[in-house]
Amino acid sequence: MSLGEDRQVIYMDNNATTKVAPEVLEVMLPYFSEQYGNPSSMHSFGGSVGKMVVGAREKVSSLIGAQPDELVFTSCGTESDSTAILSAIQSFSDKRHIVTTRVEHPAVKNLCEQLDTLTGHKHKITSLPVESDGTIDLNRFEESLTDDTAIVSIMWANNETGVIFPIEEMVEITKNRGILFHTDAVQAVGKIPIDLNKVPIDFLSISGHKLHAPKGVGVLYVRKGTPFVPFMTGGHQEHGRRGGTENVTSIIGLGKACELAATKMNDENTRVKALRDKLEEGLLSNIPSSILNGHKTLRLPNTSNISFEYVEGESILLHLDRYNICASSGSACTSGSLEPSHVLRAMGVPFTAAHGSIRFSLSVYNTEEEVDFIIDKLPPIIANLREMSPFWKGSHPGQVGGANCKCSC
């Protein structure tokens, strides 16, 4: 469905997916057509493709301060997450405890919840709570670790709020305790500097399409010396750590995307951040009863999650869609589930605000005109929906349902 008129798309949903950078597409194109060799082949036709994969591996590793042979190319961030966690619990099969957080992406959250059925063993999962600004309490983290802990899996930055977790400090705490550490860094890589030379982490997940590479390619970083059990077994590809012919074209694209990300890191953290701040301040000051979700500074430079009280997210998004503005919401209605985002609920965002949350996530391709356009268009949309809302300045008691909710929501 499109409510939009013929207008240029204003894309501010870059935490969902990003545009493939033109430079990335360009380097990929020959590998869809004439350069179709298999990198594992003995002939030089395939071998030349293999060299490109080697080059891509070097580019990705240099973005995160890793060694090239510490990378395993996968199909997506979710595969990387599954591989890391399942590998850890197989490597430490006598340990049955996992530490994670209540705000993880479903790729980690749902996997942890389903480990019992997947492995046939009961696992104890500690899902750490977060503070109201989305940050984590390091003391509580330290206290959660036990001798039975096989792996810690905590995201580097949250996809909904952009809040950055102190991964360096947490890795420091787990060091020398025989506990593996995995981080889902799909939102962080390319947006903020990461140097694994300085962070002795065991596993780190990357997703290509979150940093202007195509969908369908990801990376799992596995530190040298970390025990590893493959998720997909087959040929000798990726040094036997992931069977299956390489997604050559996308891997080459990802290499280029990582190279670009390194050159644009400064732009992302200055110009894009300034645009994000302008958008955020513009909306918060022009729209009453609007609240920023997440810590003001410990946050990705591109993400802003704002709640507009007493209105519902899907309605806001569909009105924005008329202007071809792309954003997303943590409201229940957008997902098809009946409850608002688990991230906002974990932060204790009240229902008045959780249902009306909108996430804008920018990229280096956004402009100041686009920000101005949104600051101009959104306030009347909210005002109009509030005019229609029985809760806005009203006294709707809401006596039927929900009021005496006894469940955990």
């Binding site: 469905m1 997210g313 209605c333 009946l338 229609m388 809302s389 709707h396 809401g398 929900g402 469940c407």
Partner: protein
């Protein structure tokens, strides 16, 4: 993205009859902020006993707003007896259909209408008299039964789509299942659950664990001057305390996991986790 009909989009983008009627004949308020949608419906009855005006205020998604807008258009010109016969299916039909996950929006419209008519007549809201089934969304058995009947619902998921019941903590799913059987007059007989993987009660578990401890584990430990005591069983967690020579033995953790846990998993339940309790 939801596949909304043009009619839904039209009623969402250009909602009819937004607002509240001053001194209305009847007012109906349903839903809540917590639930994610809510609707206040007001109507004015003419001297001829027909609804002359109806207005709404809605907090909710596009289909909730469109359903409310459609409802106000549909009831104008009807007598209360006629209006009372409107169902959520009528609202959905008027809009050219709704995605199945959004049917509860049309149900909310119908319930607001019922609440407003009850308010005019000074009687309690009929559906609210039922027994509360879903605590998260405040849905009664009467609402669920009616939805099952009128919309020919077959599964818990469908009931959730229509009434929201069961969409929160999920605790009431068994009760919904029961209501489905009751309404659909399906065989009450429980389908015998075949070969359920071993499900032991705590008492059974404790007895079996004690047996294995006595028969195999304790004698083996005693050979090395050690002993073991069962402290507690909590679900799959077996809390034990090592005694005697085991206390000071460097290998006691290995013994616990690789011997005690292994034996108990083999002979009692393969999901058990043995942990040492500090007493």
């Amino acid at each position: 993205m939801w596949d909304y009909t043009d009619k839904v989009k039209d009623h969402f983008l250009n909602p009819r009859n937004v607002g509240e009627i001053d001194s209305p004949s009847g007012i109906g308020e349903v839903g809540s902020l917590a639930c994610g949608d809510a609707l206040t419906l007001t109507f004015k009855l003419g001297d001829d006993g027909k609804i002359v005006d109806a207005k709404f205020k809605t907090f909710g998604c596009a289909s909730a707003i469109a359903s409310s807008s459609a409802l106000t258009e549909m009831v104008k010109g009807l007598t209360l007896d006629e209006a009372e016969k409107l169902t959520n299916e009528d609202i959905a039909k008027y809009l050219g259909g709704l995605p199945k996950e959004k049917m509860h929006c049309s149900v909310m419209g119908r319930e607001a209408l019922e609440a407003a008519i009850a308010n005019y007549r000074g009687v309690p809201i009929p559906m609210a008299l039922g027994e509360l089934v879903c605590e998260c969304f405040g849905v009664t058995d009467l609402e669920i039964k009616r939805a099952i009947q009128e919309s020919n619902l077959r599964t818990v998921e469908e009931v959730t789509n229509f009434t929201k019941a069961g969409g929160g903590c999920g605790k009431c799913e068994d009760k919904i299942e029961e209501l489905l059987r009751e309404v659909r007059k399906e065989a009450k007989e429980e389908i015998a659950i075949e070969e359920q993987p071993k499900r032991l009660t705590n008492i059974q578990k404790i007895k079996m664990i004690e047996e294995v401890l006595d028969r195999e584990i304790r004698p083996a430990l005693k050979k090395d001057g050690g002993d073991i005591e069962l402290i507690d069983v909590d679900g799959d967690f077996v809390i034990v305390s090592l005694r005697g020579a085991c206390v000071s033995c460097a290998k006691s953790q290995t013994t616990l996991k690789e011997y005690v846990e292994k034996k108990l998993r083999e002979q009692v339940l393969d999901t058990l986790i043995v942990e040492e309790g500090k007493v």
